[in-house]
Every structure is written in structure tokens, then in C-alpha cells.
Symmetry: C2
Subunit: 120 residues, 2 copies
């Protein structure tokens, strides 16, 4: 459970940046070197290396260095736990707001009964 939490912490943190999400979308199309990515996202090599490192630590990207070129590709993690957490939150959210709706409906009905009783 602690390990799972650490995974979720790292992945959600990795996803909290528009450039890092863009890098993942790019790698979904094709592998790319760090300098390709830096160029595409108008960023310094150092800046892109930091972003790739965050994604690599979260298991979302793997890199391989051949000669002077480090190539990045999508990592082994499919975001299953993240999708499950979000789905479970959405269900809780719906249940909570359905319960509130029911409460409001019940209050409306009680108010109607109350008004009728007062009229009599």
C-alpha cells in the first residue's frame, strides 16, 4: 500500500507539467532523443533532461544511451493504478452528490406537506 502510494505520488507529480505530458504524447507517436525533444518543446537540453528524469523515475519513460545519443521511449507503466484511483473518486463524487440531491428532494416534499397542513 505504501509502495502503491509512492507510485501514485510520483506519477501524478510527473503528470502535473504540460511539457512532461507533451513528451509522453510525443513518445506515444515515436521514440525520440533528448535533443529532439528539447528542440520540439523549445527548451534547453538541461531543462529537457530534468523533465525526462522525472518521467523516468515515475516509470513512464525509459532511456537508452547509444554513443552520444540518449533515446527516450514510453516506459512500462500503463497508468492503471492512476486510472483506478480517479475512477473510484468519480464514483464517490457521484454517490455524494446523488445523496445531496435526494436530501434536497426530500426537503422539498416535506415543505409542500408543511404548507398544505398550515393551509388547513
Amino acid at each position: 500500500m505504501v509502495q502503491c502510494s509512492a507510485h501514485l505520488d510520483a506519477t501524478f507529480a510527473a503528470l502535473s507539467d504540460v511539457t512532461r505530458r507533451g513528451v509522453l504524447e510525443q513518445l506515444g507517436d515515436s521514440h525520440a532523443s533528448i535533443s529532439d525533444l528539447a528542440q520540439r518543446f523549445h527548451m534547453s537540453l538541461t531543462g529537457m533532461k530534468k523533465h525526462v528524469s522525472v518521467l523516468e523515475q515515475a516509470g513512464l519513460v525509459t532511456t537508452e544511451k547509444v554513443g552520444r545519443v540518449r533515446t527516450c521511449k514510453l516506459g512500462p507503466r500503463q497508468l492503471e493504478e492512476e486510472a483506478a484511483w480517479i475512477e473510484s473518486h468519480r464514483q464517490l463524487w457521484s454517490a455524494r452528490f446523488d445523496a445531496l440531491d435526494q436530501l434536497v428532494e426530500q426537503m422539498k416534499r416535506e415543505e409542500k406537506v408543511d404548507v398544505r397542513t398550515k393551509r388547513k
Copy 2:
């Protein structure tokens, strides 16, 4: 699009902490004051206020102060965009790895043909 990116940045950052995810799960069950939450998560009031503020800025929690008590409840955001982003990444991931599988299968077939040709 920029607004959507800023939303995603803020939400994923808010979800990247186990305590903040715990607070959302708790508020899915029932409303709670900041001091209830601080007690439940063994945390100082100041620490919990900071977490709640991050969740509030991401639209995941709303708070209301009545007298001296600030009550927290689930906010209006249902994590629809976040669920959609993750789903789209998972589809890219699958497509990418399916393509790799096909490539490996094709290479295996070509190798078999090559071995047969050499035997002849």
C-alpha cells in the same frame, strides 16, 4: 487549451500527495472541518490548511467558514479531463506496444524463412 493545461497541472499536482488523496476519500464519505481532518491524518492545523488550500485551488474541495469552524466538502470538479487524458495515454501506450509486438512477430517470421532458405 492553455486553461485546460493549467487545470490539469493543478489537479495532478494536488493528487500527487497521499494525504491530499486521503482527504478527498474522506470527504467522499462526509463533510469535515479542517481540525477533524488534521486530527484524522495526525497533522498540525497549519499543515492541513496548506493541503486543503492546494485542493481548493484545484477545484477539488470547497470550504465554508461558519463562526470559527471551516468546513470542507468535495468541490465541483469530477476529474473528467484527467480521466480523459489518462485514457488517451493508455490507448497510445497500447497502440505503440501492439505495433512493437507486430514488428517482433514479423522479424520472427522473416528469420524462419531465412533459416529455411539457408537450409535449402
